[in-house]
Amino acid sequence: MTPHSTLGWPWKPILWIFVGLMLFPIGVILSAWITPEWGVWRHLVDTLLGELLRNTLILLFGVTVWVLLLGVGLAWLTAMCRFPGQRFLDWALILPLAMPAYVLAFSMLGLLDYGGPLRGWLALRFGPNGYWFPDTRSPGMVVFLFSLSLYPYVYLMARAAFLDQGRRMLEASRMLGRSPWGAFLHAALPMARPAMAAGCALAVMEALADFGAVSVLGFNTFTTAIYKAWFGMFNLTAATQLASLLLLFVAVALTVEQGMRGRARYFSSDGHGPKRERIRLRGMAALLATTFAGTVFLLAFVLPVGQLLVWSWSRLRLDLDGRFWDLTLHTVTLGVGAALLATLAALFLGLVRKRHAGDRIVHLALRLATLGYALPGSVLAVGVMLCLIWLGKGFAWLFPGVMHQGLASGVSGGILALLFAYLVRFLAVAMGPVESGLERIRPSLAEAAHGLGATSREVARRLYLPLLRPGLLTAILMVMVEVMKEMPATLLLRPFGWDTLAVRIHEMTSEGEWERAALPAVMLVAVGLLPVFFLVRKSAGR
């Protein structure tokens, strides 16, 4: 290596300490299996477990099937076909990504429930019992709402895959005698499989991790059970057992995804050339395509956002008080703090990876450090809480005479715990943009700069910083938005009285006060649209 980059830092020990820290919460939860408390288990099996397992499986399978159908179908239509509204829907269908599932859930419930505008109109028209309406608290409705909220993951991935496949692949399969649809089924779809699997895994993990939407819908899953065990019964042991079971589901989902993805990393990038010709849909087909894509956009974005706006307009005078600004301030503080922390950590990891490129152990360490993204917020909260108790005990043992109330209590302790939890969970989010920023720094660039007379410090200031800036800013923005939308970990770990927008939404929706949850929800959706616009702009050039 060049004599300039041999900084005398003990990179590897620092890396392993960091990895250990990131894995601590998972380790603590898994250690619950070492000393199982059979009494708690028996109670869980007797009372809850059947329902929890059934609901979780319904959620898993329902969401998998529906996000694939919606996501892949829409991606194929907008990426490969031309129909009225296609240009607009192409990017509009990404917008629902800005909406947390719990916001979609409660605003749609408000629309569809008794007392909502739709039911009111039907009752007026057909009499109170003169019409059929789907049960808004049924498993089918849960799957429906989750799919509307989560299909964009599959849509984005599949769309990128279809666009990247390039025309030549499809032309080749046409030359070999396939019809356009045959080419889709036998070439495009199999080639997009890794992308579809990845998108589907993201959607399923979101569904498993979700707490807000299922509690709004009264659909008991592990996350709601963990919450009840913790806050309702103050039984951290039961919460831990439940968390470890949920972790098992996540692990299974991830394994299945890896299996589906196989060893394939298909790609071809000849799709960036001249404008691709699309399949032009006419007549009935065009009408169906527009209706299908338009309806999804309407249900997943326009209607819920419209409902939210109507509600918050009606409540604006009442809700826009000092308390609301406090909520916003808390939310932004946590978001910015966690974002800076995670981006700094990601930069550190990225630099270590660059220095030790090709080192398998380092590679493994980095994978382990970013494992936290798979942890549902409620599981993570339990893990962090156990860590703190453990630390507190150690502290008491070390300094028996010192007055202490445990690290978990007190505002600053609680905020630190929260920031740590966010770091574990969202480090992977920051890694992506930071690493792509680091990738721009080819070794020859630094050498060229040195050759032109720049000292190491100058290289850092004139080369690294400007090259990294976009990646770092993107990472900060993305983590900030994720943290602001995060509900379960915030709910469980926040210091008393330190409410955020997401917590406020949970409080109001759990009392059925949809209107009063609307204003914070609008704020979150607005913030959530920021990174989505980035995505849209990035993909619009293609």
């Binding site: 004599p3 020859s444 050498e447 700069a449 000292t455």
Partner: protein
């Protein structure tokens, strides 16, 4: 006549990560002011390592590198690249993606008065014919334009010499040759000294007043292109440069060799055999000429039309294959028997012992 003190002196340098098995072994050469030099070798021969050692990115295990009298590198001492006054053009150009063409060129001029920076940048862009593209970003340029920008950037701080690391290998063939000549002319017009690293013989020959042939970390020959082709010092260089076939034979008199392609006459070098010694003679395609009176016949087994000439692969009755370059109007079909003669005035000759004997009478190094 060479000036008394060379510009760059590379004295018995070795470098590499493993001291027991260095990538470069005891390499020495000298470059004078204003000279154009090529380092030629197959990939992995260590030619880029030499360049990076000169630039200061690779420390030395042994030897010294001097720029005029100033010591640049020695074991345990590596002057920082930014203090060497050595410019470099990289294979991937290494243009800074966040800066415009102008800003890229001005990068190395930091600390000078604003007015000077502006003039130098403008002059450099003018020199490489990029004056109208100064406000573009690197990704908006074609390969050739990026190349020119990289050159202007390297020249701007007026370095003592310029290193070029396979700078044309990313361009298509047509542009490559044109641009290589153009870059050479620009450097010559600036009285600059340029060291080019390449794996392409044509490029090395077109560029270099002197060409160094590297093989497995050793400098095998350091000479003019003419000398490399006609007076290779060892079988490797003979096989590596140009096309040709080694023909086994026996020495009859010091200037006459008995071979399957007849009696070959000429002054032998570098090996001077005694009568009776087994030898290997290098036969170049242009040494083989059609001769209706010759008793030696060969059958055409392949032919490649090249425009002005046609390259034939001929097989003698002994099974020995030769390559020959005939004028295009001498037209033979595949399978036809052609009377040939090997016309040599000097013989490139090696002892037929040691490794490489198996090369006997098969085409070596077809490019």
């Amino acid at each position: 006549m060479r000036p008394a003190t060379p510009l760059l002196t590379i004295d018995a340098i070795s470098c590499g990560h493993d001291p027991a098995n260095p990538v470069i072994r005891e390499l020495s050469c000298q470059v004078v002011q204003g000279e154009m030099v090529s380092l030629l070798g197959a990939s992995g021969c260590g030619k880029t390592t030499v360049l990076r050692a000169i630039a200061g990115f690779v420390p030395l295990l042994a030897g010294t590198i001097l720029l005029r009298e100033e010591r640049l590198s020695a074991p345990g001492f590596t002057l920082a690249p930014e203090r060497r006054r050595v410019g470099m053009v990289f294979q991937d150009y290494a243009l800074f993606p966040h800066l415009t063409v102008e800003e890229n060129v001005a990068f190395g001029l930091k600390g000078r008065p604003k007015e000077e920076i502006r003039t130098v940048t403008r002059d450099m862009l003018h020199l490489v014919g990029m004056e109208s593209l100064g406000r573009r970003h690197p990704h908006e340029l074609s390969g050739g334009q990026q190349q020119r920008t990289a050159l202007a950037r390297a020249l701007a701080p007026k370095p003592a010499l310029i290193l070029l690391d396979e700078p044309f290998s990313n361009l298509d063939v047509d542009l490559r040759e044109r641009l290589a000549l153009e870059v050479r002319q620009i450097l010559v017009s600036q009285e600059m000294t340029g060291i080019l690293v390449t794996h392409d013989q044509h490029e090395a020959f077109a560029w270099g007043d002197q060409v160094g042939v590297l093989h497995e970390g050793n400098l095998r020959q350091w000479d003019t292109p003419f000398a490399l082709y006609h007076r290779p010092v060892d079988p490797f260089v003979a096989g590596f440069i140009g096309q040709g076939t080694f023909v086994a034979g026996t020495c009859l008199t010091p200037n006459v060799m008995q071979t399957p392609v007849g009696l070959l006459q000429g002054t032998p070098q570098p090996y001077r055999p005694n009568p009776g010694d087994p030898v290997r003679v290098l036969v170049r395609p242009d040494d083989v000429v059609p001769d209706p009176d010759s008793p030696i016949h060969a059958r055409v087994i392949r032919r490649a039309f090249k425009g002005a000439t046609t390259l034939y692969t001929l097989q003698l009755d002994s099974g020995c294959q030769l390559q020959s370059l005939f004028p295009s109007h001498v037209d033979h079909a595949i399978g036809e028997r052609v009377p040939i003669r090997v016309a040599t005035d000097h013989l490139v000759l090696f002892a037929n012992t040691g490794p490489g004997v198996t090369m006997e009478c098969v085409p070596s190094a077809i490019n």
